[in-house]
C-alpha cells in the first residue's frame, strides 16, 4: 500500500481531531483537572499555551441543533423562564445546565468560564447566568465593537490588559503557569493554521470550486477550537493540498454540476442543514463565499497585533468593513447571487442585514434573497419560504446568465 493510499482524507483527520479535543476535555475532567467553558472567539492562544482544556457551548448548541435536539432543549429553557427571543445556542446551554444531560451531545461541566464579546454582547449575559447557576468564576475579555475600519491603540491597550489579567486569574484557578515561550510557539502554530485555512477556503475561487461550500460549516469547528495545535495546522495544510489538487484537475466534491455560485450570509440553520443544503444542491447551487472563510483566520505578528486581530472577527467590525469583507469575498469567488439568513437568534447579525443586503447587491451587481431562520431553533424556519426564495434567486441568476450569454 502506498503512502497516499494510507493517508486519511483531511476531512476525516479534522473530524477525528475535533473528537479527540472533546475527549481530551473529558479525560482531563476525570483526572480532576480544571476544565472551562469558552466563547468561540475567545483568544484560544491563552488556554492552548497553558494546557488548559476548554469546551465550547456554542459548538454544542450547533451540534445539538444539527442532531435534532434544538427544539426540545430550547423549549426546556423556555420552561425555565427564558424568552424564546433569546439566542438558541444559549437556550440549549441553559437547558443542559439545568438537566445535566443531553442525548445528542454532552460536554464536561466547567470549573470556570471564559467569555469574550467580540462575536456578540449576548455572550456576556449568557455567561453571567451560567456563572451564577454553576457557581464558577467568570473571566471576561471585553473586545469593544469597532467604530472605525482599524482597531485603535486605546482598544489594543485595554484588550492587552485584560489578556494579561486573564492569564493571572487562570493561573490562580488552575494552578498552571503560563510559559511565554510556549505562548510564542502557539501563536506561531495558530498563524500556520490560519494561513492554511485561508489557503484552503481560497480555492473556492476556482471554477468549479473544488468542494461543496457547506463543508466549511463542518471544518470550521476545528478552526475555532484547535487552531493552536500542530495537528490542526497539519490537517488544514492537508485540506488545502487536497483542494489544490482537485482544483488543478477541475474536479470537485460538490455533487452534480456547479451551475450557480452563491454567497451564504449568516450562521447555518443547523437544525435544517440537510434541507438547506439539498435545496441548493438539487438546483446546482454551490456555496463559494461565506464569511466563515475569513472568520477563523487570525493573522498577527506580535501580541499587540493579536489583540487587534480579535477585534476583526466578523460582527465586531464597523459596518463598512463588514460589508467590504463580503463584497471582496463574493467578487473573488465569482458568485452569481447571495442568500441572506435573517437569523432569529442573532440580533447583532440581523440588525444591519437589510442594509447589508442592499449595499452588497449594489456593489456586486448580483441578485440576493433573504429568508427567515435560526441557527438551532427549527421553529423559526419554513421549508416552503426557503424553497420559494431559492427558486426566485435561481430565476434571477438564470436571467443574468442568459443576458451575459447574449441569448
Amino acid at each position: 500500500m502506498t503512502e497516499s493510499e494510507e493517508k486519511k482524507p483531511a476531512k476525516i483527520v479534522l473530524r477525528e481531531l475535533q473528537d479527540r479535543i472533546a475527549q481530551d476535555a473529558w479525560d482531563a475532567k476525570r483526572r480532576g483537572e480544571k476544565v472551562g467553558w469558552c466563547a468561540s472567539n475567545f483568544p484560544q492562544e491563552i488556554t492552548t499555551a497553558m494546557g488548559i482544556p476548554v469546551v465550547y457551548p456554542e459548538n454544542m448548541g450547533a451540534a445539538v441543533g444539527a442532531k435534532g435536539g434544538g427544539q426540545r432543549m430550547c423549549e426546556h429553557a423556555e420552561g425555565m423562564g427564558y424568552s424564546n427571543d433569546l439566542c438558541s445556542y444559549s437556550r440549549i446551554n441553559f437547558a443542559y445546565t439545568d438537566l445535566k444531560r443531553c442525548e445528542e451531545l454532552e460536554i464536561p461541566f466547567p470549573d470556570f468560564l471564559l467569555c469574550c464579546n467580540n462575536i456578540c454582547n449576548c455572550m456576556i449575559k449568557w455567561y453571567e447566568n451560567l456563572a451564577l447557576a454553576l457557581d464558577v468564576p467568570l473571566i471576561l475579555i471585553d473586545i469593544p465593537h469597532l467604530d472605525a475600519v482599524t482597531c485603535d491603540a486605546d482598544r489594543v491597550k485595554y484588550i492587552r490588559a485584560q489578556f494579561d489579567d486573564c492569564i493571572a486569574q487562570l493561573e490562580a484557578i488552575t494552578g498552571k503557569k503560563m510559559d511565554y515561550d510556549r505562548l510564542k510557539e502557539v501563536m506561531d502554530v495558530s498563524q500556520r493554521s490560519s494561513r492554511a485555512w485561508l489557503r484552503a477556503v481560497g480555492y473556492m475561487s476556482a471554477e468549479p470550486s473544488p468542494f461543496s461550500g457547506f463543508d466549511i460549516f463542518n471544518n470550521m469547528a476545528v478552526a475555532c477550537v484547535g487552531r493552536g495545535t500542530v495537528e490542526a495546522a497539519e490537517a488544514f495544510e492537508q485540506l488545502a493540498d487536497e483542494y489544490e489538487a482537485l482544483a488543478k484537475d477541475g474536479k470537485s466534491t460538490f455533487k452534480g454540476e456547479e451551475k450557480y455560485r452563491i454567497l451564504f450570509e449568516g450562521i447555518a440553520c443547523w437544525s435544517n442543514l440537510k434541507f438547506t443544503y439539498k435545496t441548493l444542491q438539487s438546483r446546482g447551487i454551490n456555496l463559494t463565499a461565506s464569511i466563515y472563510g475569513p472568520a477563523f483566520s487570525f493573522l498577527y505578528g506580535s501580541l499587540d497585533e493579536l489583540m487587534a486581530a480579535y477585534s476583526y472577527v466578523p460582527n465586531s467590525n464597523c459596518f463598512e468593513r463588514e460589508l467590504q469583507l463580503r463584497v471582496d469575498d463574493a467578487i473573488r469567488n465569482k458568485v452569481d447571487g447571495a442568500i441572506f439568513h435573517m437569523n432569529r437568534s442573532c440580533k447583532h447579525w440581523s440588525g444591519n442585514l437589510y442594509e447589508m443586503e442592499r449595499q452588497f447587491r449594489e456593489k456586486t451587481g448580483v441578485p440576493t434573497v433573504a429568508f427567515d431562520g435560526d441557527q438551532s431553533d427549527p421553529r423559526c424556519f419554513s421549508e416552503a419560504q426557503y424553497e420559494t426564495r431559492i427558486d426566485a434567486l435561481v430565476e434571477l441568476m438564470e436571467e443574468n446568465k442568459r443576458k451575459e450569454g447574449g441569448a
Partner: protein
C-alpha cells in the same frame, strides 16, 4: 411659588412633547445632540454649551424603520430610528450611539444610511470590564474621543473646567432626583406613577440646571405636606423603560404606587454620582464602574438582583413590577436569575411585557389586576 400640581403638569408637558424643548433650544441659538441610552457622556455635550436631548423612542407605530431593523428588535430603537427617518429629529447636530447591546451595535449604520449625514453619528464605546483600572482608562479615552467630535460640532474648545462644571450640574440634578424620588414615595396620593415618571423623564429634554430647580421646588413642596396614610399597594419597578402612559394609568387605577425604581431611564441615571477627579473625564468613566442594577452593564454576580431585593425591602414594597421591554436581550437574560432572587427573598414579582408600538394594554391590565389581588390577599 408654583403649586405641586402646576409643577407636575409642567413637567408632564415637557416629557409629553420633547420636540417643543428641542425647538425652544434651537430658537435660543443652542445646538443639540441626541443621546441614546445607555450611559453616554452627556455631561460633555452640556460642557460644550449644547443641549443633550434624550432619545428614548416614542409611543408610535414604526414603519420606515422596518426597512432597516427586523421586527424582532426592541421598539425603543425602532421608534428612535423612525423619528429620525421621518425628520422628526431634524435640528439635532449629531446623535451619540453607544454599543452596549447587540441591537444598538446596528443602530449607527442604520441611522447613517437611513437618515443620512445631516445628523452624524458619534459612536460611544465604554468598557464592559468597568471595575478594573484598564476599563476606566479605556472609557476615559473613548469619552475624550467623543469630546473631540463634540468640540468640532460646537465650534469651540471645551476645557476641563467646563467639564467639571457640567459634572457638578449633573451631580446636583442626580441629588435632586433622589430627594424627589423619596418624597414622591411618601406622597403617592399626590404624585401618581405618571407624574413621577414625567418629572424624571423631563430632565432628558430640558436644561439640566433648570430641571434641578423645578425638581427641588417640587420636592420642597412635597416634603412640606403632611404624610397621608396610603391604602393602596407599593411596588418597586425594574426594567429599561416604565413610561408607557397606558401602563402607568393601569397602576393608578389599581392604586399601586411606585415606592422606588430600578429603571434604566429613571434611577439608573441618578442613583450614582460622578466622582470628582482631577481629570473630570476619568471621574465620568469611573462612575460606570460604580453603577449597579442595569442589565446592559457587566454584572457577573447579578448585583442587580441583590440591589433590587434590598430596594424592595428598604421601601417596604408589597412587590416588584418588572416592566419588560419586548425583544430586549439583556433584560430577558436577567429575568430568570433575578426572579429567582426575588422568589428566594419572598418578594412577589410580576413581569409585564411592554412595547412602544403596543396599542392594546388589556393583557397588561389583567396581569396587574391579578397581581394586585394577590398582593392584597397577602
Amino acid at each position: 411659588m408654583s403649586t405641586i400640581r402646576e409643577l407636575l403638569d409642567e413637567l408632564q408637558r415637557v416629557s409629553g412633547n420633547p420636540r417643543a424643548q428641542l425647538d425652544a433650544a434651537l430658537e435660543q441659538g443652542k445646538k443639540a445632540v441626541g443621546v441614546l441610552p445607555y450611559f453616554c457622556p452627556e455631561e460633555l455635550v452640556y460642557a460644550a454649551g449644547m443641549r443633550p436631548f434624550g432619545l428614548w423612542g416614542a409611543e408610535m407605530q414604526a414603519n420606515e424603520s422596518k426597512r432597516y431593523y427586523p421586527a424582532f428588535i426592541c421598539s425603543l430603537l425602532h421608534t428612535a430610528l423612525e423619528l429620525g427617518l421621518r425628520g422628526a429629529l431634524n435640528g439635532l447636530s449629531a446623535i451619540m450611539v453607544p454599543i452596549c447591546c447587540d441591537s444598538l451595535k446596528g443602530f449607527g449604520a442604520n441611522w447613517k444610511y437611513g437618515v443620512g449625514e445631516t445628523i452624524p453619528v458619534i459612536d460611544v464605546a465604554w468598557a464592559e470590564n468597568r471595575k478594573i483600572a484598564a476599563g476606566a482608562e479605556f472609557t476615559r479615552s473613548q469619552f475624550r474621543k467623543v469630546l473631540g467630535r463634540l468640540e468640532e460640532i460646537a465650534g469651540r474648545r471645551v476645557s476641563d473646567a467646563d467639564i467639571t462644571a457640567a459634572v457638578a450640574v449633573y451631580n446636583e440634578n442626580r441629588k435632586a432626583l433622589r430627594a424627589f424620588s423619596a418624597a414622591a414615595a411618601k406622597h403617592p396620593e399626590t404624585v401618581s406613577p405618571a407624574d413621577r415618571c414625567a418629572a424624571i423623564k423631563a430632565g432628558y429634554f430640558m436644561d439640566r440646571a433648570e430641571h434641578t430647580k423645578k425638581i427641588a421646588s417640587l420636592t420642597e413642596a412635597l416634603n412640606a405636606l403632611p404624610e397621608q396614610p396610603w391604602k393602596g399597594l407599593r411596588v418597586v419597578t425594574t426594567g429599561i423603560l416604565a413610561d408607557s402612559p397606558a401602563l402607568l394609568q393601569i397602576l393608578a387605577d389599581n392604586h399601586i404606587a411606585i415606592a422606588g425604581d430600578q429603571i434604566a431611564q429613571e434611577s439608573a441615571f441618578f442613583r450614582t454620582e460622578t466622582p470628582v477627579t482631577a481629570d473630570p473625564v476619568l471621574g465620568m468613566a469611573q462612575r460606570l464602574g460604580l453603577v449597579e442594577g442595569c442589565s446592559v452593564l457587566f454584572d457577573p454576580g447579578k448585583q442587580r438582583g441583590r440591589e433590587l431585593v434590598q430596594m424592595a425591602k428598604d421601601a417596604k414594597a408589597d412587590g416588584i413590577l418588572w416592566v419588560m421591554t419586548k425583544f430586549c436581550d439583556p433584560e430577558e437574560y436577567d429575568y430568570v436569575p433575578v426572579k429567582r432572587m426575588a422568589d428566594a427573598a419572598g418578594i412577589p414579582l410580576l413581569a409585564v411585557e411592554v412595547d412602544q408600538q403596543m396599542v392594546n394594554y388589556e393583557q397588561a391590565r389583567s396581569a396587574v389586576e391579578a397581581f394586585a389581588e394577590v398582593l392584597r390577599s397577602d
